[in-house]
């Protein structure tokens, strides 16, 4: 069977300032059949979505990612400006309490460092939910 073209693969943007963490997760997602766009900061990520010719279905962003708006701000920006993109917010457990109020609004964190399979499971659930909504 012919492999799908890169543009036909579901797109996942990984926003994380730690190159080692980012690379390992990105490679795992690629082996699972996703088209992965890597961003080291909220600035790079925002630039991709504002000006890039890249299709993104899901954004996975570290809440602590650096940049003008930061990871948390970028997650909010995506939800507001790109409602067609699902957002997974990730963060270290020790930051969860201090952001408890925001968590209620933004949904649960994904633990970081990542368990790659948990990330894939979360992405699959989000995409399945999105498909169900689109079919209604």
């Amino acid at each position: 069977m012919q492999e799908p073209a890169r543009d036909e693969l579901p797109g996942v943007m990984v926003v994380d300032a730690d190159v080692l963490v980012r690379h390992v997760l990105a490679e795992y997602l690629r082996t699972c059949g996703y088209r992965v766009i890597e961003a080291a900061s909220s600035d790079e990520a925002q630039n991709f979505l504002e000006h890039g010719e890249v299709d993104v279905d899901v954004v996975l962003v570290d809440a602590q990612a650096p940049g003008r708006v930061g990871g948390f701000g970028f997650a909010r920006w995506v939800r507001e400006k790109r409602p067609g993109i699902d957002v997974v917010l990730a963060g270290a457990p020790e930051h969860a309490a201090e952001q408890a109020a925001d968590l209620c609004e933004e949904g649960p964190h994904l633990a970081r460092p990542y368990d790659p399979q948990s990330v894939v499971d979360r992405i699959k659930r989000l995409r399945a939910a999105r498909t169900r909504v689109d079919e209604l």
Binding site: V19, L20, H23, A26, A40
Partner: protein, 132 residues
């Protein structure tokens, strides 16, 4: 810090190119072009990130680096450090405005803007020559 000299892998082993580029669009384009040729690519957004990758002991068979990037070092300094800590590891340096005298001192210099395919061929040729 890992400081082993570069040792080429057998031809059937996956080969990895470390791309250090702060222009995220260009980084994505060259990374995808290299992946299309079956290479593994590690994307670094700065020379510091690239140095972190190398220092972590990750298997890297070639480095493609921009010069002017944010952080504590530029691509020229990264190239110098690679020469000290990982001698023999091929480095390709790209820039749009590097002093010609400095450019001549680089192992391989590629002027920006560059042709993606030409750079990919250049890297593949070098990697194929490295195969024992």
């Amino acid at each position: 810090m890992a400081s082993a000299a570069y040792r080429p892998e057998p031809s059937d082993a996956p080969r990895t190119v470390l791309v250090a580029e702060d222009d995220a669009f260009l980084r994505l384009m060259i990374a995808d072009a290299l992946r299309d040729e079956g290479l593994c690519v590690i994307e670094a957004a700065s020379a510091d990130e690239a140095f972190t990758v190398l220092s972590a002991g990750m298997d890297v068979h070639a480095v493609l680096t921009d010069v002017r990037m944010p952080g504590s070092m530029d691509g020229v300094e990264l190239t110098r450090r690679v020469g000290v800590h990982w001698p023999g590891l091929p480095v390709f340096v790209t820039s749009g405005d590097l002093d010609p005298a400095v450019a001549r001192e680089m192992p391989v210099f590629i002027a920006k803007p560059y042709d993606l395919n030409a750079v990919v061929v250049l890297i593949l040729d070098r990697l194929n020559k490295e195969v024992p």
